[in-house]
Symmetry: C2
Subunit: 250 residues, 2 copies
Amino acid sequence: MAEREVDRSVSQTVKAQLALRDQILSGALRPGERISELQAVETTGASRTPVRMALVRLEEEGLLEAIPSGGFMVKAFSERDISDSIELRGTLEGLAARFAAERGVSARELEPLKECLAAIDELLRQVPISIEAFSSYVTLNARFHALLTELSRSPPLIRQIDRASALPFASPSGFVMAQSALPEAQQILIIGQEHHRVVIDAIENREGARAEAVMREHARLAVRNLRLALRNRTHLDLLPALALIKTAAD
Amino acid sequence: MAEREVDRSVSQTVKAQLALRDQILSGALRPGERISELQAVETTGASRTPVRMALVRLEEEGLLEAIPSGGFMVKAFSERDISDSIELRGTLEGLAARFAAERGVSARELEPLKECLAAIDELLRQVPISIEAFSSYVTLNARFHALLTELSRSPPLIRQIDRASALPFASPSGFVMAQSALPEAQQILIIGQEHHRVVIDAIENREGARAEAVMREHARLAVRNLRLALRNRTHLDLLPALALIKTAAD
DNA sequence: TGAATACGTTATGTATACAATAACGGGGAG
DNA sequence: CTCCCCGTTATTGTATACATAACGTATTCA
């Protein structure tokens, strides 16, 4: 293979990582399936060295699992794994909110959060919400959670929350998409927005315990909704957990 | 270099990872210092490919930081980073204790925990505690925390706790060693043991909130003690955080 | 007929060669 | 004297060749 198309705008390692992640999350690679390096080389266009780096990184992200005899396989998640991951993330975000409240946050730092809040309010005014508005909601919600995390000013915590969000179903967008499958979707979004409002208020008033409690409740709500969504499996196309859920056995 | 001493009992990647971690934690590589791959190849005896894999893994562990222009440097931690990491870990362990309590644990599963507890009781009966006994304590305490984590039966949570413990100062042994520098060390160990006792009791009685609360208090105690230990910098030889603390200029 | 072993094939682990880029230093010009 | 540009050097990023271990298959012997 003499001529190889090389995209020099990003490193081969990053390119391979993105391509492989796509394949996993799109379901092209099934949970439990072994990933062949050679095959990955062909589909990603990178050579074996960057592919291997990407595989190691994806393992650390939690999308892959090392096989003892060598190589990697796509990790499979049970429904409980997924709900635990969401609750875990909520617990971490709760700690972030507590840190923000206890350590104090200036009005200027809170401003972007409030803008997010207002923008979401605007979107939710539509009944029923349009597809485009819902898409904007997903983006704004993710932004809100990211900003909130930043407010903790704690690099170790921020790092850990990022790691916990690497699993698609545990990310803020994952929450929302899972919830969108439910008939009560709009009502759920409104309750979530109420949580957002409370956490900002708690941080402003330096009520650490209240800020933490509401974020945990926020996650528990998401867990309940995910369970519901998985029960009546309707409109689950958007659910990013789907491709990773253990199929049979276990 | 024709003849290279190759230890075939473990993979070169693992060997390099262990060797580099040692170098970092022993302080041979200073925080902020760039790690040269070539140099790492010489000191570890592995070739560049496994060295690079090890570097990626150590970055994910949190011991290294990627340099935007390429390569890795030893991560530097502030005192607050360290205390946050401990509190973070305590929060995670709190969640694990809650899961264990809420999901129920059989008497048989609790048995090893109780054995740990009894063994530590035995050690603490010595006043003052001997060096050997203290060393045993460190091991037993780490075992206790690991067993408790397992009781959650939540792979995602266990995984996250393991990651949070990768930083030496955030591991159970790290807690203890930091505390050992204080004059009130023995009293502190006794209080910690009381926490251990309470969490088992709470899990047995399926009191999730109480189990969670005591583990968080356990960590907060560790944070307070770490602060004290860092204030009066006496006998800090054992403190595994030392090699990683930012020196000057935050 | 079944099981066990040996062999061949395939995939991963490792090493190294090559390419590209970023850092550093020197020299020249303003 | 200082600043900028260019060339050199060192270091990382990438590709590939080679070694080794695992798996499957076929054949043979009990």
